[in-house]
Amino acid sequence: MLKFIAKRFAQGVLVLLAIYALTFFLVAMTPGSPFSGERAIRPEILAQIEAHYGYDRPFFERFWTSLSNAVRGEFGPSAVYANRSVTEIISESFPVSLKLGSLSLLLALLIGIPTGVIAAVKRNTLLDYVPMSTAMVGICLPTFVMGPLLALVFGLMLNLLPVSGWYGPRYMVLPAATLGLYYAAYFARLTRGGMLEMLNQDFVRTARAKGVPESTIVWKHCLKGGLIPAITFLGPALAGIISGSFVVETIFQIPGLGQWFVRGALNRDDFLILGLTVLFAALIVVMNLLADIAHVLLNPRLKYE
C-alpha cells in the first residue's frame, strides 16, 4: 500500500514538473505583454517595468528562478494587479472555489447516488424512466444554459434567491445547484449501471433465496460494488467542477479561482497563470490518487501494483 502511494506520488511530482515547464514555455511564447494597453506605452517605460519584474533576464535564468521559487511556494507578484502577489490572490479565491466545488459535489452525490440506486432497484418502472430521462436532459444541458435558466426562474421570476454575489448561504444555492445538478445526472446514470450489474450477480440470488431482506441486499451487499463506477468518476468530476466553475462563477459573480484563470490568461499575467496551473494540476493529481486508493479499497478484485 505504502509502496503504491509512494510510486504514484513520485509520478505526480514528475507530472507537475512537466506541466510547470510546459506552461512556462507556452506563456513565454505567447504573443502579447502583461503591460500593453489600448494606449501605447513608451519603450523606455516598458523597459523599466520589465526590468522590475525580471523580464530582462535570460530565458533559462528566468525559468530557473521561477521554478525554484515555485518549489518554495512563491509565485511572485501579479504582473498586472499591483500590490498583489499570486499567493495572495490564490489564498483569497481558493476557499471560495473549494466551497462551491464541495457543495456542488455533495449535492451531486446526494441526489445522484440515491436516484441511481432507486432507478436500478425499480428498473423499468416510472421511478426508473422519469429520473433517468431527466438525467439525460441534465447531462445535455451545459452549465451556461442551466445557470441563466435557474437565475431567471428562481431569481427574476419568483424572486426567491439572489442571482449574483457570494455573501452567505442563500447565495450559494443557485450556483451549487447549477454545477451540482449536472454532475448529479452523471452520478445517477453511473450508479444505476453499477447497481444493475451487482443486482444480477449470483450471490444476490443466493441471498434472496436465503431470505435476506431486500433492503439488506441492496444497501449492504450491492451498494459497495455498485458505487465503483461513481467513485472512479470522482476524480474527473472534481477536475470538471474546477474547470467548469469558471462559467458558473461568471454567471453568478462569484469571487473564485476560475475567473482568475481566465483573466490571468487574457491579461498575460504570467506569474498568475503559472501559479494557478500548478495549483490545478496538483489538485487533479492528488484527487486522482485518492480516487485510485478508494477504488482499490472498494474493489477487492484490484490490487495495488
Binding site: 504573443p31 431486500e214 454567471i251 453568478f252 487574457l266
Partner: protein, 545 residues
C-alpha cells in the same frame, strides 16, 4: 420489494430539498437589495472589472478611475454637469498669465488627508515627481509632459527635479510652468495622473518610486476625496463611505457607494433587473432595443468623447493609395450602420474629433457616396473591385465588433465589389499586431483624456506610439507642433482644424461612429448628469428612496 427499502435515500433527498427551500425563503422577503440601499443612501454601481490597483499613479483603466474619483481629489474637481468646466477642488482659486503657460493655484486651508495631514502644495510637487520618476514606470506619465522639463526628467536627461516646472511657493501656493500655452490645462488636471498622493503614506509603505507599495491597500489607503475606502474584497465588492473630514463634506449626500466588479455584461444586466444595482457599467448592444421597449426609464444613452474607427495599414498596398482609402471611406453608410447595427444612439462619424467640444464643432467631411467611391476605386486600378487583393479586417474578439465589421464588409462588397475577410484576435495579441503593423485593416477606438481636440489629433503625428497606421505627413506634424506651441487660442483652433482636414483627406483611417455610453440607471438615482468624459462627480449624486 418493500416500500421501506426506499425510505432512507428518499429521506436524504427530501432533507436536501427542504434545506434548499429553507435557505431560499429564510429572510428572503420581497424587498430588493437596491430598495433598502436607496433608503440608506447607498449607491450600488456595476463597475466592469476588478480594479488592477487604486493607486492613481499606476492605473490606466476606466473601472479604476471610477473608484479613485471617489477617494482622491485633484486641484480641480469634476463639475456636476459639464466636463469642460473647472470646479474648485483642492485648489480654491487659480490664476494664469496671458498665454496660459504659467499657472498659480491657491490651495484651500481645510483640505485634509484621511490620516489627518493637510493637503499642501508640496504634496503635489511630491506626487508629480513620483509620477515622472522613470523607476515607477507609470504608464500615464506622458500626460504630465505638458509641464516644462517634465519630459526631460522622465527620460532621464535631467536628474534635478527643481528644473521641472512645478514648485511650492508656500504651503498653500503651487506654481506650475508649462512647456507652452495650454488653456485646457485645468481640464487636464481632472485626470487621475495629476492627482496627489499622501507622501507620508507612500514613504511608509515602500517609498516614492516603488512599484510594490502597499499604501493603497484597504488597510493603508490615504485619500483626500469625498469618500474613504472601507472594504475591498477581490472580485466581489469595493465599499467607500462618506469622508467626514472632506472639506466639502456638507455637500456629500450619499452615505456609501458600493462598486461591484461584474465583468460579464449579461450577469450585470441580470443583477440590475434583480434589484441589486442602481447603475450598470454598460449594456450589450443587442439588448438595447429590448430595454428601449421594456425599461425605457432605466436605459440611458449619454454622449461620450470617443471615436470608433478602422485603421488602414498604409504600408501595405493597395492602402498606400489615398484613392483606395477614400473609396473605402465613401462606401460606408454610417447612418444605416448606427441605426441597424450599433443601435446605441451613436452619431455617424464624419470626422475624427468627436462633437461636444467647446469652440471646435465636429468635422462634417466623410460622407456616404457610393458612386464617387466606385469611381475612385476604378481610378486606382480596380474598376468594379476587379483585381483588388484579398484583405482582412482585424478585430479584437467581441461579438459587437464582429457585427460592425460584418456590416462594413457587406457594404464594401455591395458598393465596391471587393471582398474582405474578418478575423479576430484576443485582446493582447490584437494590441501586438496593431502596434507591429501586422494587419491590413484594424478596428480601433479612441477616448479623449481631456476635452480638447489635441487629445485626438496628436496620435496621428509621425512616430506617436498610438499612430499604428504607418501614416506620416510632414505638414500634419508641423501644424500639430505649431498648435501645441501657439499662444493664441483662435490660431490654435484654426491650426488643429487644418490638421484634421489633412487627416480627413488622406484618410489613413475609416471613421465609423462617435461613441455614446449606454447603461442602465435606476430612476431613483438623482444628480447623475451626462458628462462628456463619463467623469463622476459623486458628491452631487443622491438617491430618492
Amino acid at each position: 420489494m418493500s416500500r421501506s427499502l426506499l425510505k432512507a435515500p428518499l429521506r436524504a433527498v427530501g432533507v436536501a430539498i427542504m434545506c434548499m427551500t429553507l435557505f431560499a425563503c429564510g429572510g428572503a422577503g420581497r424587498d430588493r437589495v437596491a430598495d433598502a440601499a436607496a433608503r440608506d443612501g447607498i449607491l450600488l454601481i456595476g463597475n466592469g472589472s476588478e480594479p488592477m490597483a487604486l493607486d492613481p499613479h499606476l492605473v490606466t483603466g476606466v473601472p479604476e478611475n471610477r473608484i479613485i474619483a471617489s477617494l482622491i481629489e485633484g486641484l480641480i474637481a469634476y463639475h456636476p454637469t459639464d466636463d469642460d468646466e473647472p470646479e474648485p477642488g483642492v485648489a480654491e482659486s487659480w490664476e494664469h498669465n496671458a498665454d496660459h503657460s504659467l499657472w498659480r493655484f491657491r490651495l484651500r486651508e481645510n483640505a485634509r488627508w484621511t490620516n489627518g495631514d493637510p493637503v499642501t502644495a508640496n504634496d503635489f510637487v511630491y506626487s508629480w515627481r513620483r509620477m515622472l520618476s522613470p523607476e515607477l514606470g507609470s504608464q500615464y506619465a506622458e500626460m504630465l509632459y505638458v509641464i516644462r522639463n517634465a519630459e526631460a526628467f522622465h527620460q532621464g536627461q535631467i536628474r534635478d527635479f527643481n528644473q521641472v516646472g512645478v514648485r511650492a511657493l508656500d504651503e498653500r501656493t503651487l506654481e506650475v510652468a508649462l512647456k507652452g500655452s495650454t488653456p485646457y490645462f485645468l481640464s487636464m488636471l481632472k485626470h487621475y495622473s495629476f492627482y496627489p498622493v499622501n507622501p507620508r503614506a507612500v514613504e511608509q509603505f515602500g517609498g516614492m518610486t516603488a512599484r510594490q507599495n502597499n499604501w493603497s491597500t484597504v488597510e493603508n489607503y490615504v485619500g483626500n476625496g469625498p469618500f474613504r475606502l472601507t472594504q475591498w474584497t477581490t472580485n466581489q465588492i469595493i465599499k467607500v463611505e462618506k469622508n467626514p473630514d472632506y472639506w466639502d463634506a456638507g455637500r456629500v449626500r450619499l452615505n456609501e457607494i458600493h462598486f461591484f466588479p461584474i465583468e460579464n455584461v449579461r450577469s450585470e444586466e441580470t443583477a440590475f433587473l434583480a434589484g441589486r444595482l442602481h447603475i450598470t457599467s454598460t449594456v450589450s448592444p443587442d439588448r438595447i432595443p429590448t430595454f428601449r421597449r421594456e425599461n425605457a426609464e432605466a436605459l440611458r444613452i449619454d454622449p461620450y468623447l470617443g471615436t470608433y474607427f478602422f485603421r488602414l495599414n498604409v504600408t501595405r498596398p493597395p492602402f498606400n493609395d489615398p484613392r483606395v482609402r477614400e473609396a473605402l471611406n465613401l462606401a460606408v453608410d454610417r447612418q444605416t450602420l448606427v441605426d441597424r447595427v450599433a443601435q446605441g444612439g451613436q452619431a455617424p462619424a464624419a470626422g475624427f474629433v468627436p462633437p461636444g467640444l467647446d469652440d471646435y464643432p465636429a468635422a462634417d467631411r466623410v460622407q456616404f457616396n457610393p458612386d464617387r467611391a466606385r469611381q475612385l476605386l476604378a481610378e486606382a486600378g480596380f474598376p468594379g473591385g476587379r483585381g483588388f487583393p484579398r484583405k482582412e479586417i482585424l478585430i479584437n474578439t467581441s461579438e459587437a465588433h464582429r457585427k460592425i465589421a460584418e456590416a462594413i464588409q457587406a457594404m464594401w462588397r455591395q458598393h465596391l465589389g471587393i471582398d474582405v475577410g474578418i478575423y479576430n484576435q484576443e485582446w493582447k495579441v490584437y494590441l501586438d499586431s496593431q502596434s507591429n503593423l501586422d494587419y491590413d485593416i484594424s478596428r480601433a477606438g479612441w477616448i479623449g483624456d481631456y476635452p480638447y481636440p489635441m487629445t485626438f489629433l496628436e496620435i496621428f503625428t509621425t512616430g506617436n506610439g498610438n499612430n499604428d497606421t504607418g501614416w506620416s505627413n510632414a505638414r500634419y506634424d508641423a501644424l500639430i507642433r505649431q498648435a501645441q506651441s501657439s499662444g493664441n487660442e483662435p490660431d490654435r483652433l484654426r491650426l488643429m482644424r487644418e490638421a484634421e482636414g489633412i487627416l480627413l483627406s488622406e484618410l489613413p483611417i475609416v471613421p465609423i461612429y462617435w461613441y455614446t455610453r449606454t447603461y442602465l440607471k435606476d430612476p431613483r438615482v438623482q444628480g447623475w448628469n451626462p458628462t462628456l468624459l463619463d467623469n463622476r462627480p459623486y458628491k452631487y449624486v443622491w438617491l430618492e428612496a
